[in-house]
Amino acid sequence: MTQHHLEIRIIPRPGLLDPEGKAIHHALDSLGYESVRNVRVGKAIYVDLEAPTSEEAIAEAEAMCRGLLANPVTEDFEIGVASPEAEPGEAS
């Protein structure tokens, strides 16, 4: 078993009102960043889990997203693998 570090990004659906993103956009505007066209705020959840392969780790995380971590009505999710950790004793 290898420990996998996953980064799960939860993102509000496109088109869904994101008042926090809007407020940050306004703040960036007032800082002078007039080139900003859109800001949306999501969240990242870092999960360390044991699985034989990174594919299996991702599959499990997808199930977690569907079951709890993301609300299918308002949010999409993306899963990235940060880095698989070497087994203890193994050369890294």
């Binding site: 869904l16 009102l17 008042p19 926090e20 407020a23 709890l68 971590l69 609300n71 009505v73 308002t74």
Partner: protein
């Protein structure tokens, strides 16, 4: 006519709901979410509050609590379930009601009195009201902005599932009186079968003159009357 008031860690309107039901002759009982046995009660209320600190999303963690499996079974068998504020959020997270409650478009925690219009008196929780009646009661939430896709909203409207809608003090539509950006000014909805109702405003905080309004009483008198009629 026993009504379970389910308490989660972080519920804070449980005593108000208990008092409101008691005040209209009902028989409420507190039910800790881990010990819940809903097979002996006639109705279930999920009160407001901040269950599990609103972690992840409001209501998302409470939905995983052991009691919610029983609430789903209870509702499927036609048992009346009322979710107020955080209770509404939990019902949506559990899939007992469609849609989701998202961040208020004002970006603020809104704590004030609002007006809502009774759109349907054809539920176990609104039968003592008259359709079109305007009610005054408080809201207190940061995530009360009702969202669903257009198709879901249309089907809620055509199915008569919108039970309460934000309005002006005279009961007229006015987007300016929508306190949180809710789609179509929706303040409360029921499921298709009609036995599950979720609402963001707090009827239990509008049941005595000293609270500034008694307009919330109808929710509890409706429920108690329906249950006594069913028992008779």
């Amino acid at each position: 006519m026993r009504t379970a008031v389910v308490t989660f860690p972080g519920s804070n309107c449980d005593y108000d709901v208990y008092q409101a039901i008691k005040g209209v002759g009902g028989d409420p009982e507190f039910t800790w979410h881990r010990d819940a046995m809903l097979d002996t009660v006639d109705a279930v209320v999920l009160p407001g509050g901040f269950s599990y600190g609103d972690y992840l999303r409001a209501g998302a963690i409470a939905r995983m609590s052991p009691v919610m499996e029983q609430v789903v079974t209870f509702a499927a068998a036609g048992g009346p379930v009322l979710g107020i504020c955080n209770g509404f959020q939990i019902l949506c997270e559990a899939g007992l009601l469609p849609g989701a409650l998202t961040r208020n478009d004002t970006l603020k925690f809104e704590s004030k009195d609002v007006w809502i219009r009774v759109e349907s008196a054809d539920t176990m929780f609104s039968s003592d009201y008259v359709e079109g009646q305007a009610l005054r009661m408080p809201i207190a939430h940061a995530e009360g902005n009702y969202y669903a896709d257009q198709e879901t909203l249309d089907s809620l409207e055509s199915g008569g599932q919108v039970v309460f809608r934000y309005c002006d003090p005279n009961g007229n539509d006015d987007e300016g009186w929508n306190p949180n950006g809710s789609a179509r000014s929706i303040a409360g909805i029921r499921n298709e079968a009609g036995n599950v109702l979720g609402m963001m405003p707090h009827p239990e905080r509008a049941v005595e003159d000293v609270l500034g309004s008694v307009d919330g009483l109808g929710v509890f008198t409706s429920l108690v009357r329906q249950l006594s009629t069913a028992a008779a």
